[in-house]
């Protein structure tokens, strides 16, 4: 993502890089359910691992626009949307949402509608 030419991104840079922000993002990515043992049958069931939706860095989308899209689609606050945008920019990718397969597919489709590079995968 790039900064819009002639436009200064004045707010949130410090907040975007805060340790608190990072840990919040990490927490969202590590929600794989544990295996459940059902005592009545002795059978071990592995529930569907949830899906995560990832936005990837690209050289065209504006930083401010990526923040706008994350706010608009997911209702995230400005600081949270900026944190995720900066993670995309600095680390190359960020997990922006997740859930059941249908939810993740719908989120990918909406992100694609808005021109963001989004993929989905099983959370590990």
């Amino acid at each position: 993502v790039i900064t819009a030419p002639g436009v200064i991104i004045a707010h949130g840079r410090g907040d975007a890089m805060s340790a608190r922000g990072r840990s919040a993002v990490v927490a969202r990515t590590t929600t794989a359910p544990e295996r459940i043992d059902r005592p009545e049958t002795g059978e071990t069931i592995e529930p569907d691992r949830p899906w995560i939706v990832i936005v990837w860095n690209d050289p065209i989308n504006l930083m401010s626009y990526v923040t706008y899209v994350l706010q608009k689609l997911f209702g995230y606050s400005r600081p949270k949307a900026q944190r995720l945008m900066m993670k995309v920019h600095v680390e190359g990718r960020a997990v922006v949402s997740g859930g059941a397969r249908e939810r993740a597919e719908a989120d990918c489709a909406r992100l694609h509608q808005h021109g963001l590079w989004a993929t989905m995968e099983r959370s590990s």
Partner: protein, 178 residues
């Protein structure tokens, strides 16, 4: 007011009103560039080629079978969404009027969001053609060959989108994390 201060007054391009509508003021040359860009979008959308690959990223990067199904389910909607936005830009340009070399129009909130989407779609298309990188300085360049002209349109659209997104960012209410 000194003379030199009068000279450097910069026209405000987008102004968001309290009711969510957005006033736009562009020079004749600028609005023609936007109009032409929207027409090119509509043309590309009628038969998307290599340069518009960026409009259709794979949701399943490592799963061709599911990706094929995902593309089948979403591609037409995606094209229709982009087409509607580009057409909104063309229509809203016709709704405005040029006076003393400045084109002015009032966009509804919905039209303003369509402009933002169409500007982004156009930049994804042009940026792919130009093979842009994050390190590039997005400033106009001197020269007249087609590549330079295309690049200058790209730089202009980037600045325009940047201005519009700043106006629209504040209009989105935070609904809280889901």
């Amino acid at each position: 007011v000194r003379d030199d201060e009068v000279v450097v007054v910069i026209r405000r391009v987008f102004t968001r009103n309290r009711d969510g509508s957005v006033d736009v003021a562009l020079g004749e040359v600028e609005v023609n560039a936007v109009d032409q860009t929207a027409a090119e979008l509509i043309k590309e959308l009628s038969d998307p080629g290599e340069n518009s690959a960026r409009w259709f990223p794979p949701a399943y990067a490592d799963d061709p079978q599911h990706q094929q199904e995902f593309a089948r389910m979403t591609r037409d909607d995606l094209i229709e969404h982009k087409n509607a936005a580009a057409k909104t830009v063309v229509d809203s340009i016709r709704e405005g009027a040029i006076k003393k070399g400045i084109w002015r129009a009032r966009l509804t909130e919905e039209q303003a969001h369509a402009w933002l989407g169409a500007l982004n779609d156009a930049r994804l298309l042009l940026g792919t053609k130009l093979n842009v990188t994050e390190e590039m300085e997005h400033l106009p360049r001197a020269g007249h060959d087609p590549e330079v002209l295309r690049y200058n349109v790209y730089a202009f659209l980037s600045a325009l989108q940047g201005l519009l997104v700043e106006e629209l960012l504040d209009s989105i209410p935070a609904r809280g994390d889901r």
